[in-house]
Subunit: 406 residues, 2 copies
């Protein structure tokens, strides 16, 4: 998607990716096949680039630091990637900068873990410090008795573990934040993210939360990114707690799944914004050009052919939905729970889009799109308006315009 945005502006992108037929290879100016975890490869690659950026935080950061010392331009800075790729270090960093986040502590043995359990209570979230994404590297212990097995699942203490106090969130929110080379910072509208087995599944933009919460989420996101170095877009994942607090969950130093909807719904997509930021162009307008968007991830439902069939059926239905855009990443292999593509719906309100999404997914009771996507709301000040408004509703129905009475 970064290459798609780059092609509009004729910005030439060279990609480093270990897979010969990775999706970007079809669009990139050039593709170097190699590991972004191998020092010599990253060095050779960097020398061909005017600006070096990363779409994953799991890169060889020591090499990036060395390259920066040699004058190679990395955006965001290696220091940022070093902080973020270690989730424990990330927590320490944001905590020091006064960003609200769930309580956490390092654990090195079962004794310390039990003490953490006593302090924070259960369920207790145990996390690996590194190479964690899409819920990998997370395990939940519901009681002290489950601690040992949770630690085993994560690969033991040798891997580097820490615990987090369970955040009693009612919604997960996210904010894409863009930072230019001139340190100007712009926030995209706050979205709600809905996860399925720890993987981002649905994103709703804008998030249906009070204005005060949006403002708070933007403030926390802005402050978090201000504490990091370098240009680019960043995703700030947040918890909204029952008592109206915003806690930082984690930050990704790159375009992010929670911002895919921006391709169709915002004046400047997160991908164009990332390019503008890292090459030093002025940041674009991050606001929405459509009132609402829903992004639905196409996660592999099954391995191989059966998985492809399910995904293709869903795309076929999406193509019938007004305002739906299908993205298919053309990954060479289908695997269960793998992100194979996504569908973005844009339209007049999140409510209308939820109805369209349900129709797309053939969820029960949503066969008749007219019934679920009212085009007129009839708002009454008092019950005495009802007799008049009933006639209005009747006439609208005559013309096939569905209505909603409040």
């Amino acid at each position: 998607m970064l290459c798609q945005a780059a092609s509009k502006m004729a910005i030439k992108v060279i990609v480093l990716d270990p897979s010969e037929n990775c999706p970007a290879s079809a669009l990139a100016y050039d593709h170097m096949v190699g590991s972004f975890d191998d020092s010599a490869t990253v060095e050779e690659f960097a020398k061909r680039c005017g600006v070096l950026t990363a779409e994953t935080e799991h890169v060889d950061v020591a090499t990036l630091e060395k390259l920066e010392q040699q004058g190679i331009d990395c955006e965001p800075k290696a220091s940022t990637i070093r902080i973020i790729q270690d989730k424990y270090l990330q927590k320490v960093h944001f905590s020091r900068h006064g960003i609200p986040l769930p309580e956490f502590m390092e654990i090195n043995n079962l004794e310390e873990t039990k003490r953490a359990g006593e302090l924070y209570g259960y369920p207790l979230m145990i996390k690996g410090k590194r190479l964690a994404y899409d819920g990998r590297g997370n395990a939940v212990a519901k009681s002290e008795g489950e601690l040992s097995s949770a630690i085993d699942v994560l690969g033991g203490f040798g891997r580097g573990l820490y615990v987090e106090k369970w955040a009693p969130f009612i919604k997960e929110l996210a904010v894409i934040v863009a930072r230019g080379r001139d340190n100007s910072i712009l926030c995209y509208p706050v979205v709600e993210t809905i996860h399925k087995e720890n993987i981002c599944h649905i994103v709703k933009a804008p998030a249906d939360v009070p204005w005060r919460i949006r403002k708070l989420a933007n403030d926390v996101a802005y402050k978090a990114i201000s504490s990091l170095e370098g240009a680019g877009v960043f995703a700030v994942e947040l918890f909204l707690t029952r008592d109206g607090q915003i806690l930082l969950n984690e930050v990704a130093p790159r375009p992010h799944n929670s911002g895919h909807h921006t391709i169709e719904s915002c004046y400047t997509s997160q991908f164009e914004q990332h390019l503008r930021a890292v090459v030093g162009l002025p940041l674009g307008d991050p606001s929405m050009k459509t009132p609402a968007a829903i992004m639905y991830n196409l996660l592999g439902e099954d391995e191989g052919e059966p998985g492809f069939k399910v995904a293709h059926q869903l795309i076929a239905r999406a193509l019938e939905i007004p305002g739906a855009t299908a993205h298919w990443y053309d990954k060479p292999e289908m695997r269960r729970q793998r992100k194979m593509g996504h569908i973005t719906l844009v339209g007049p309100s999140v409510g209308v889009l939820e109805a369209r999404q349900k129709s797309m997914l053939r969820e029960e009771g949503y066969e008749n799109r007219n019934e679920v996507a009212p085009r007129v709301g009839i708002v009454m000040g008092s019950d005495s308006d009802l007799p008049v408004m009933k006639d209005a509703a009747r006439i609208l129905n005559m013309f096939g315009v569905s209505t909603e009475e409040w």
Copy 2:
């Protein structure tokens, strides 16, 4: 741009183009270097395609017809391209189908041309039948005395010429029409096209014309495309005359400059729509997702480096304009009047976008963007509202919100 749309859906596009480094080559699945006017090349190319489509009407149509007989799937059909590539044949075709268009007649010698001049009056439009685009192949004779030189400019009668009665148009309009393989037809909103030296320069969407004219333009466009065979998007260029008539100017059987704005402004871009149509997917929603769009072509202002410099300066200014997207085609050579890219502005109204465009072009009196892009309109029912509303305007001004009073 077709390849960009294709990459989202992972539709594989093979391109036939004579230029080794044509813009599409960077994005296409494969690029065959060769002429689309050479029979053997087109045949070889066609055998590699599931569906064959053309982004120019100047192709070897006899070969397409032969390939169709061999079972190759051409969309739109070769019959359509045959009609359209000969502008005289095109006029005869649409005239027979009852489409309103300026009067016209074939001319084979000066005598016939003079008779046409007497019949239609002056200025008289003389056109070459074939290989005409962007005004090439058109010449205007202001009087009988100018006929000979106009005919010489066009290459003489041997080339195949015809004349058209001058259309006293007040606006040029265009409608992109999509036609699916199931013969379903959808029209995009009517736009206004503004030409500069016969080349499309600015497109405004939607066109600022009364509802009746929009309806008429859509009807003419719909009827014109219904008379042709095959799937794809088509551009219908129209004249709006002083007396409120809509006359067909010409049709292009492909995505068209007048539809470039759809990438940012419509639920389904003309490029995605063309792909959906030719591969047999359902057509997408052609309506606008933003209230207004302006497309501004980046025409070469000068040859070589100086031309690049002017264009890049304009793009740099565009990147500062909210809602502006820059497209740079990365054509290997800059030539005067050549289409090198375009800028699309989307936003709340054509009026606001016109102001932003003027600011982008640094046109006189538009240095202060605040003055020209009011964000609040103050509409009064009577003069007695003025004292109250003046205070509202004062408060808005305090907050830097520009206003417009009606």
